[in-house]
């Protein structure tokens, strides 16, 4: 299709203005609002005990959810692509659910099972373990929402590289562990890395599901996104600046994530 010069320019303008208004402007505004009252004010909001503990809790939850989902994701992708059969059909049918279910429904679902009146909650409560309104429930919520990323990134790569090298390794006497570590894992590493990055971003930024299962207590069950939420709804001198400060922390993290995604992008396509 040979688009005329005028059409080309108008399409370019429409696309760029749309992106500028929708993407760039909002992010710039957050940074501007954060440092409205000077750098030291914003820094003060970022280093309150509540803010530091929120940052740590966000990192902890991601550190629990992402490794578990990575192991599950690789195993699941291997079953989906290499095994087929009934287990694969079962996994394939349900693996996308976490992307499609509303985060609030996720929170409700976990409460109904692990809450104090839930299916398993009373069993845990009798042993003095609190899950909902505490960190374990928030970890479960984080795992839930970031579950499918690794599977969905790794499965197509795995299908693309085929299993000839794995079969060759097996005929040469390699055990299945050796084959996995020496052949399979290196060939899917870019897919795994990309999936890990996507899950990390989601785990750090999740609010809906975590909101339902958190008790919103500063210093113990507030993550960074929840801190933004809480500070925004607080009435008090400058607490909105505090919300912007926490949002800026999250925005900086996500810009780093975006940078890594861009750097990984080409490698990911080469391996396909």
């Amino acid at each position: 299709m040979l688009v005329s010069r005028r059409a080309k320019w108008s399409l370019r303008t429409i696309a760029l203005v749309y992106l500028l208004l929708l993407l760039v402007l909002p992010v710039v505004v957050v940074f501007a609002k954060t440092f409205e009252h000077g750098f030291s004010d914003a820094w003060g909001w970022m280093t309150t005990p509540a803010a530091i503990s929120a940052l740590w809790l966000s990192i902890t939850l991601a550190a629990i959810a992402v490794p578990l989902n990575t192991i599950f994701g690789i195993a699941c992708a291997l079953v989906l692509v290499r095994r087929r059969g009934r287990l694969a059909a079962f996994l394939d049918a349900f693996i996308d659910l976490p992307f499609l279910v509303s985060p609030v429904v996720v929170g409700l679902a976990l409460t109904l099972v692990y809450g104090i009146h839930g299916w398993f909650g009373s069993w845990f409560a009798a042993r003095g373990v609190q899950i909902i309104f505490a960190v374990p429930g928030m970890a479960l919520a984080t795992i839930f929402v970031s579950l499918p990323f690794v599977v969905r990134e790794v499965a197509p790569v795995l299908a693309e590289v085929g299993d000839e090298q794995e079969q060759a390794a097996a005929t040469l006497g390699a055990s299945s562990w050796q084959t996995f570590w020496r052949i399979t894992l290196p060939s899917i590493r870019w897919g795994v890395a990309y999936g890990v990055i996507l899950s990390t971003a989601r785990a750090l930024g999740e609010i809906g599901a975590v909101l339902v299962v958190s008790s919103l207590v500063a210093g113990s069950t507030l993550t960074l996104p929840l801190l933004v939420y809480q500070r925004d709804s607080q009435i008090g001198a400058g607490s909105i600046t505090g919300a912007y400060a926490a949002a800026t922390e999250l925005a900086v993290i996500s810009l780093v994530v975006l940078l890594i995604m861009t750097l990984l992008g080409p490698g990911r396509h080469e391996s396909r």
Partner: protein, 243 residues
């Protein structure tokens, strides 16, 4: 092992919602789903999601076109920027919209707490779906066919309708379907800015907070059914759910 993990984290909890919703008389379920608050929330949520799916489909296709077929300085940067809504926590998106259109908007535009701002938030959050779904198809598209059509006298309108659009249609539809599904359940970017505009996920949240899990579960079941419909529709289109 994989099945156990999926069950403990995902399937058993979702089953609990379904059980909670159906462990009441059909009339009480019906009442909870069709009372004025729920109906209004469902109508607003579905309406907004449909609008966003359509507008996002059109704009996403234009953006993908410009990124693939056009050449201009800074293009790689723009291309990287598309993934921003996936990387940026949704609450930050909500807060930025509050800053832009809220009570102390720098442009004097007060959209916060209205339905319009819900659309803007949802368009932001779902931007990558259509762009990233159309982009690879557009890259693969053979331009020789278009040139052949042009040499046979077809104008751009005809080429677009007869050649380009049919090739892109599955990608646009699956991207829009994903965007729609995401919109139906979205809460993070909306929780700060919707005010009294009741969307379904916030009604569920309010029900949970009020200690009415049965009402929350009933509305949740409706949302889960909608999600499953979208999932099935996407399987039909041969699309895949991607990051």
């Amino acid at each position: 092992m994989a099945t156990l993990y999926l069950s403990v984290v995902v399937l058993i909890p979702l089953a609990a919602v379904v059980v909670k919703a159906v462990s009441q008389s059909p009339s009480s379920f019906w009442q909870q789903v069709t009372n004025p608050v729920s109906l209004r929330a469902l109508a607003i949520t579905l309406g907004a999601s449909l609008i966003v799916a359509v507008v996002g489909g059109v704009m996403g296709t234009i953006v993908a076109w410009v990124l693939v077929r056009d050449r201009f300085p800074g293009q790689r940067f723009i291309n990287a920027l598309i993934d921003l809504p996936f990387a940026l926590p949704t609450i930050v998106a909500g807060l930025t919209l509050l800053a832009l259109y809220g009570p102390d908007s720098p442009f004097g535009v007060h959209l916060a707490y209205t339905r319009a701002v819900v659309l803007v938030a949802l368009l932001f959050v779902t931007l990558p779906f259509v762009v990233r779904s159309v982009q690879p198809v557009l890259l693969e598209l053979d331009q020789e066919v278009e040139e052949a059509a042009a040499s046979l006298g077809a104008d751009n309108g005809v080429i677009f309708r007869r050649i380009v659009l049919p090739a892109l249609r599955p990608a646009i539809l699956s991207g829009s379907a994903l965007a729609f599904a995401r919109c139906v359940g979205e809460i993070g970017s909306l929780v700060l800015i919707v005010g009294k505009v009741q969307i379904a996920s916030l009604v569920i949240f309010a029900d949970i907070e009020d200690g009415a899990p049965q009402a929350a579960a009933s509305l949740s079941l409706v949302l889960i059914m909608l999600s499953l419909l979208v999932l099935l529709a996407m399987r039909r289109l041969g699309g895949r759910v991607a990051g």
